[in-house]
């Protein structure tokens, strides 16, 4: 069998464009997912039964359905039910926000609740209001404990963007598919795509390592 690697070098610009979009969807999606996850995680951890219940339903709906179904719903079903029409890129980013938000909510809840109760009491005993105790006493410890599971979620979300091929967003996997359709060089193209994913995730892992090293996990 012969390999023709020129098909990869000829298509580098398209692949890099796909990688750029993958990174963009991941970064914007995870930034939103962090905000959503923090909110819903705190609702789960400290909310009254109503607030907790709302957050619980959100988390279960998202965790109980595949991300492909979620993005299809956002892209194809929302226009029908609610008349909201969004472009494919917006649908993809929204899907990452909604999906990672639910998983991050559970990470946030777990880490806040894992902080020893005594720290919260020590903060309260100083006369601090509850929100300050959460923000300045429990929060800093919880955030350190969050980094390993968050890193995991970031990697999963980055790879999940490959599923947005189903709505035609021109991310990395989609670019690979299109080059494939034109050249039929499966081994070369999919090797190149896999290597680019490895580089992206390797970079992400390296950054997370540095952050973890700079913070003492408590």
């Amino acid at each position: 069998m012969e390999f023709d690697w020129s098909v990869v070098s000829n298509n580098i610009p398209a692949l890099l464009e796909g990688a750029r979009l993958t990174v963009f969807i991941t970064v914007v999606g995870l930034a939103g997912g962090m905000a959503v996850g923090l909110l819903f995680g705190l609702m789960r951890a400290y909310g009254n039964s109503l607030v907790n219940g709302i957050a619980f339903i959100y988390v279960e709906l998202v965790r109980g359905t595949p991300i492909v179904v979620q993005v299809m719903f956002i892209y194809f079903a929302l226009p029908v039910v609610m008349g909201i029409r969004v472009d494919a890129l917006t649908a993809a980013i929204t899907a990452v926000i909604v999906n990672s938000g639910a998983y991050i909510a559970e990470i946030v809840r777990g880490s806040f609740l894992s902080v020893p109760k005594g720290l919260r009491e020590a903060g309260l005993a100083l006369g601090m209001p509850v929100w300050r105790v959460l923000a300045f006493v429990v929060g800093p410890v919880a955030f350190r404990r969050m980094t390993p599971p968050l890193g995991n979620q970031f990697i999963v979300s980055l790879k999940d963007t490959s599923l947005f091929i189903v709505i035609g967003v021109g991310e990395l996997t989609r670019q690979g598919q299109e080059i494939m359709a034109a050249t039929f060089r499966a081994v070369e193209i999919w090797s190149a795509v896999a290597i680019i994913y490895l580089i992206l995730i390797g970079t992400m892992t390296a950054i997370l390592r540095i952050i973890e090293k700079r913070m003492r996990i408590l």
Binding site: A122, L126, G127, M128, V137, P140, R216, L218
Partner: protein, 242 residues
């Protein structure tokens, strides 16, 4: 006016009655030592004072403020009543001096320079000037507890509450904590101390309270009560702890 006033205070956890209509008045400058078997309600009584436990019946006034007067008032009480915990509960992400400077910055609106200066003074007072920049996990239990005392003092409370401050410490580390507490008592600080340290009660305490089943069973001058227990249960209890 008394500093702390329990008026028929009750507290239960579910069906379990931990404090049963307790009346107690503590004046400024008193060093009250609370002893009693485990489950007798002494820690709960202490934690009701700064509203870490919510009372179910009666009323409790600290420096004229009721613990039932709402969140804002409860925070005022907590500013007046510093607390030292059995497990120290230092903030692990902060150094010793940051732990002590934290309270005044958060709740007294003190500037960073001022708070750090105060924290350095307090750490010197508890004998830890050398260890200011260490994190809690780099300190011994006794040192951590002394930082915790300094942290509580930094908010300038009128009363100090101690919840078994030496129970988590090895015997040889207890004295360094007890000495700091004694110095504090000698300065006239009002103190309520839950402890098993009978020596401390005798030497430093101005009043000894023996609790049993959610009641105050015996209340009087420590030396007398320890030397001649008026109550068989207290006598047995003292034999057990000494």
């Amino acid at each position: 006016m008394s500093m702390i006033e329990f008026k028929s205070v009750s507290k239960s956890f579910g069906a379990n009655v931990v404090l049963d209509k307790v009346d107690l008045s503590i004046d400024q400058g008193e060093v009250v030592v609370l002893i009693g078997p485990s489950g007798s309600g002494k820690s709960t009584l202490l934690r009701c004072i700064n509203a870490l436990e919510e009372i179910n019946g009666g009323d409790l006034m600290v420096d004229g403020i009721s613990v039932r007067a709402g969140k804002a008032k409860v925070r005022e009480i907590r500013l007046e009543a510093g607390m030292v915990f059995q497990q120290f509960n230092l903030f692990p992400q902060l150094t010793a001096i940051e732990n002590v400077a934290f309270g005044p910055r958060q709740v007294r609106g003190m500037s960073k320079t001022e708070a750090v200066k105060l924290a350095a003074e307090l750490l010197a007072k508890v004998g830890l000037a050398e260890r200011m920049n260490n994190f809690p996990n780099e300190l011994s239990g006794g040192q951590q507890q002394r930082v915790a005392i300094a942290r509580a003092l930094a908010v300038k409370p009128k009363v100090m509450l101690f919840d078994e401050p030496t129970s988590a410490l090895d015997p040889e580390l207890r004295q360094e904590v007890l000495r700091v507490m004694q110095a504090l008592a000698e300065e006239g600080m009002t103190m309520v101390v839950v402890t098993h340290e009978i020596g401390f009660a005798r030497q430093v305490g101005t009043r000894l309270i023996f609790m049993e089943n959610g009641h105050i069973a015996v209340d009087g001058p420590p030396r007398e009560l320890i030397d001649n227990p008026p109550n068989q249960r207290l006598k047995e209890f003292l034999q057990h702890v000494e």
